[in-house]
Amino acid sequence: MKHLKLLAAGAVIATFGGIAAADATTLEQVTSRGQLVCGVNGPAGLTGFGVPDDQGNWTGLDVDMCRAVAAAVLGDATKVKFVPLGSKERFTALQSGEIDMLARNSTWTLSRDTDLGLDFVAVNYYDGQGFMVRKDLGVASAKELGGATVCVQTGTTTEKNLADYFRTNSLELKSVVFETADQARQAYDEGRCDAYTTDASGLAAERTQLKDPGNNVILPEIISKEPLGPAVRHGDNQWGDIVRWSFNAMIIGEEFGITQANVDENKSSDNPEIRRLLGVEDEMGKMLGISNEWAYNILKQVGNYGESFERNVGLKTPLGLARGLNELWSKGGLQYAAPVR
């Protein structure tokens, strides 16, 4: 019986090809394939996080996460195959081995971390639910929204968070519910609601699509925690380490002011931590099972976290997001990386 199964599996493998040996580690699979398979935001992409440009190159904050891992493991940030995934199939794709890692603005929650057999290894964007109002409403804080009508997308945690927030602050809520984000935004734009709520990064993207973006403000309150980060399969700790430290290298790079432009000069720095990071001293890369140049390659080819942030979602992009929680810990934010030692 067992042989029969093996035979059948062999036949299928022979027919369809593209199969990796089942017991190879993810790192072995990636290096032997010479390509990282990375799950990104699909089906159509998400502005600023993962979206193809006019030439078909994927760009975005999550995409840079994939590129950083490819740079660390393979030494080439372009050796990535991007697999756009819908919200429902993203975790299955990771479990079934279709992708090596997932960087698709997925919120790190306990159930996903345990029940789904995944490991979230970092938080590359601290998101949270926020509000947008028209300037002429004269509201400066979400606490003043009592009695206001709020446009919200249905079937999301957003809707529940909204109700919870208004109840805990004993505010009167009149919510207007829509099926899609596009409908909710349009209704808000036409004046059917006083406020519009969704994740803060989404709010910024939606604001650019309004008739008069300048006339709308995003309120400072963030009413929920949405830590978004890359995930890997549970159980392959070495691979999890590589993804985590690829991200950490980008953070540490920013801490030390190492950019794409000056990374080469930094190789001759006297700072022992920089020397360790860039592989001049000690053998940090070997401990991870990859090249000693891993962090150098990331910073050279992708850049540090701040560069990636400003390039994809920062103030100069159409999204125009401020660093906020995603500022370095030393500047009042939450982005903090363990030291390379």
Binding site: V12, A22, G42, P43, T47, E89, Q209
Partner: protein, 375 residues
């Protein structure tokens, strides 16, 4: 004789009355308008209302689509300065909308494949084309392998992974494969359902009813999410293959019912006649029953094809980016944020042109084949 209309019949002797033109009110443009648009007061009101509705809808639509639209080249939405549709985005993204992420220097392969397909189909469909049989043989026996070779690569051509396929190319691949596979499978299923052998009948009924009982989106969802979980770890079928199998089987179940409708319309005498000629089951069906049944089913079959063509965009949930997905993804690009109306208008136009052509060809086919039944 200068003013013929003014004369009355009494002026002419019997049998010598000249031919007179019909009254102005019943001929020419005026007559047509009176007969077709204003025959009764109720119809007159309906006509006026319809005209008013057109007046309300058409000018703004045409303005948006054509006169106020942005036709110039550009690289971001800042270049779309005019009020109307931003065709600039479609121009900038045209390659992606057509071929997805297919490498630019390899796109000629897709062109060649579709031109070959078009020529072969035209050869089969156009009446009186010399060598029709060769076109058909090419289309059904040679072309599938050739297309696979051109699209995917091998034998000296660079391999292009299916994850890079997208846009209209993917839509057409899904639709043509679905159409080509569903018709023969549908015929077999329809015959199976009318078979006298219980095992075959029960099996086909179970398949048809099961597939018709679930929405296509569920079938695709199963294919993309649940199916991989049953496979050993590290082993995965190509996503596109999964989608193609799902769509083909789904379409086949519907096709089977359409064809069964045609089979039921064939009078018993046809079967008896065929049997009395000594034809066996297969020959009877191939030469007597099916040609008639398929002819009757043409409207239903084409209806299914058109439905299938438009259902292909459901593969979006599997992360396959076909035409609609490509258009949506263009509007998520920071450069083109929020141009969703233009994207949808473009996709509608493409879908319409394909579906309308299919529908026109089916009407032509009906006229050609249905002479005996036409009323």
């Amino acid at each position: 004789m200068s003013n013929i209309e003014a004369r009355t019949t009494s002026e002419f002797p019997p049998g010598q009355h000249p031919d007179m033109p019909p009254p102005v009110a019943t001929s020419g443009v005026v007559g047509w308008v009176r007969q077709n648009l204003f025959p009764t007061p109720l119809n007159a009101i309906a006509t006026l209302l319809a005209l008013y509705a057109l007046y309300l809808v058409l000018p703004p639509l045409l303005n948006w689509l054509i006169f106020d639209a942005n036709w110039q080249e550009g690289t971001s939405r800042a270049d779309c300065v005019r009020e109307g549709a931003c065709w600039t985005m479609i121009r900038a993204r045209f390659g992606q909308l057509m071929y997805g992420f297919y490498p630019v220097d390899q796109r000629w392969r897709v062109d060649v494949a579709f031109i070959l397909q078009f020529v072969a189909i035209a050869g089969v469909l156009i009446e009186g084309m010399p060598g029709k049989r060769w076109f058909a043989l090419f289309l059904f026996l040679v072309y599938p392998f050739l297309a696979y070779l051109l699209f995917y690569g091998g034998f000296g051509l660079v391999e292009v992974d299916t994850s890079l396929w997208g846009g209209l190319m993917l839509t057409l691949i899904l639709a043509t494969t679905g159409i080509a596979a569903s018709l023969p499978i549908g015929v077999v299923l329809a015959l199976g359902r009318r078979s006298h052998m219980p095992v075959i009948r029960i099996a086909t009924v179970a398949f048809i009813e099961f597939v018709r009982g679930v929405p296509l989106i569920t079938v695709l969802f199963m294919a993309s999410v649940i199916f991989p979980l049953f496979l050993p770890e590290g082993m995965s079928f190509d996503k596109l293959v999964r989608a193609l199998v799902g769509i083909s089987l789904f379409a086949a179940a519907y096709m089977a019912e359409v064809i069964r409708g045609g089979l039921q319309a064939i009078p018993r005498g046809q079967y008896e006649g065929a049997m009395s000629l000594g034809l066996g089951y297969w020959k009877m069906n191939a030469f007597v029953i099916l040609p008639q049944a398929l002819r009757i089913s043409i409207p239903g079959i084409v209806n299914s094809f058109i439905g299938l063509f438009m259902d292909t965009n459901l593969v979006l949930i599997m992360g396959l980016i076909e035409l609609l997905g490509m258009a949506q993804s263009a509007t998520r690009d920071p450069d083109w944020l929020g141009q969703i109306n233009t994207a949808l208008a473009f996709v509608s136009l493409v879908y319409f042109s394909f579906c309308f052509s299919m529908s026109r060809y089916s009407q032509y086919l009906e006229r050609k084949l249905h002479t005996g039944y036409r009323r």
